[in-house]
């Protein structure tokens, strides 16, 4: 059965088709959510929310783009909104808490390359980080990224280029790693 038939059966209320559609896409959705969130509980929450919304709104899916593109648009919206919400909440609480406590909790002594790379990617502006993770880490094409994020392909390329430039500066201490 092809995907359009599966979607038609889901729209008709076939619960086995819902599960089949979920099985076909959940790995990639969860992977992307995990890569962006960096936390299993959050990634699971975002994946669940993505599929709940997708099933609820399947009636509005017209088939102009691939189903996976439509689903990944929901995924990125859910993940980025969710992360903003968590960030706002943490920031508000951090403002209230003792500044000393915050300093201690985030201090890292002599981080290794892996930790520095993680920190550098985490510190990228949201748009750069999203494109970088999708392209360089998860292997999406610029066309896919453009369709999912609703931006031009050129914008995706430009954001990736800027993300890499920022990472290069942030990781300049480790230049020997890629020059040799």
């Amino acid at each position: 059965m092809d995907e359009s038939q599966l979607i038609a059966r889901v729209r008709a209320g076939d619960s086995a088709a819902e599960r089949a559609l979920y099985n076909a896409h959940v790995d990639r959705v969860y992977r992307l959510a995990f890569r962006l969130a960096g936390d299993d509980a959050l990634a699971q929450d975002f994946t669940q929310e993505t599929f709940i919304r997708a099933f609820d709104r399947l009636g509005s899916f017209r088939g102009d783009a691939a189903f996976s593109t439509w689903l990944h648009t929901i995924t990125t919206t859910v993940v980025l909104n969710g992360l903003r919400k968590v960030k706002r909440f943490r920031q508000r609480e951090a403002d209230i808490d003792d500044a000393h406590e915050i300093g201690v909790s985030h201090r890292h002594a002599e981080p290794d390359l892996k930790a520095r790379l993680k920190q550098a990617i985490d510190d990228l502006p949201e748009g750069y980080r999203t494109v970088f993770v999708m392209h360089d880490v998860e292997g999406y094409t610029h066309e896919e990224i453009g369709a999912v994020l609703g931006v031009e392909t050129g914008t995706s390329k430009a954001q990736l280029s800027r993300a890499r430039a920022k990472l290069r500066v942030a990781l300049s201490d480790f230049a020997g790693e890629w020059v040799t």
Partner: protein, 217 residues
């Protein structure tokens, strides 16, 4: 032509190294599917549909009008006997319920952010973090109990959700910073089993909080 920022060696190295960034775990398919099914069964608590947003906006205008009316009636009560207030009082209960619904939406959004943050943060920053979470849970618990006593809790599904939240918040508020993570594991297990977060999210209309109540104030 190569862009001045391009460096193929760096890009190749970066792509290899970045594979270790937030390396995903195996997909917990069945556990997530179960929660999705449960959340969809329990959906629709106080969803604000597009037409309801207009109703909210209209009600807000009415409330504002009533406020102005009452204020002006109060100003002239000594001379005219306050008949304006008597006329507008009949519309007040429905608008009051709506106000409680808006307050409930904001409360649910805040609680969702707290519980999401709790699940992500717990155990990561030691005793000080546990104490902070317990304090926040106590604050939210007070609001939860006020919500349970308010007209917003006339909706049975919302009442059931508030009762679930009350239980979770009581447990978090009683966390002891000196103890290990056993209690927190029990709380997160309980949250997963009762599906509190998916139910909570289903109860909150999509979009950031200011959008959900846009036009109401």
């Amino acid at each position: 032509m190569m862009d001045q920022h391009e460096d193929p060696k760096f890009e190749q190295w970066l792509q290899r190294a970045a594979k270790s960034y937030h390396t995903p775990q195996p997909t917990p398919r069945d556990a997530m599917w179960k929660r999705i099914e449960d959340a969809r069964r329990n959906k629709h608590v106080i969803e604000l549909r597009p037409w309801m947003r207009w109703a909210v906006a209209a009600a807000a205008v009415l409330i504002l009008g009533i406020g102005i009316g009452r204020w002006s009636a109060h100003q002239s009560a000594a001379g005219s006997g306050g008949t304006v207030a008597a006329v507008t009082d009949s519309a007040a209960p429905a608008q009051s319920d709506l106000s409680y619904q808006i307050a409930a939406t904001q409360y649910l959004s805040h609680t969702e952010a707290f519980l999401t943050s709790f699940r992500a943060d717990i155990g990561s920053h030691g005793a000080a973090n546990t104490a902070r979470l317990a304090r926040q849970a106590r604050d939210l618990l007070s609001t939860t109990r006020l919500m349970l006593d308010s007209p917003a809790a006339k909706d049975q599904r919302l009442r059931s959700l508030l009762e679930d939240l009350e239980l979770v918040l009581v447990q978090i508020s009683q966390l002891d910073p000196a103890r290990d993570g056993h209690d927190t594991d029990l709380i997160t297990q309980g949250m997963n089993q009762s599906n509190v977060l998916p139910k909570l999210r289903s109860a909150i209309p999509a979009g950031p909080v200011p959008v959900r109540t846009e036009g109401a104030l």
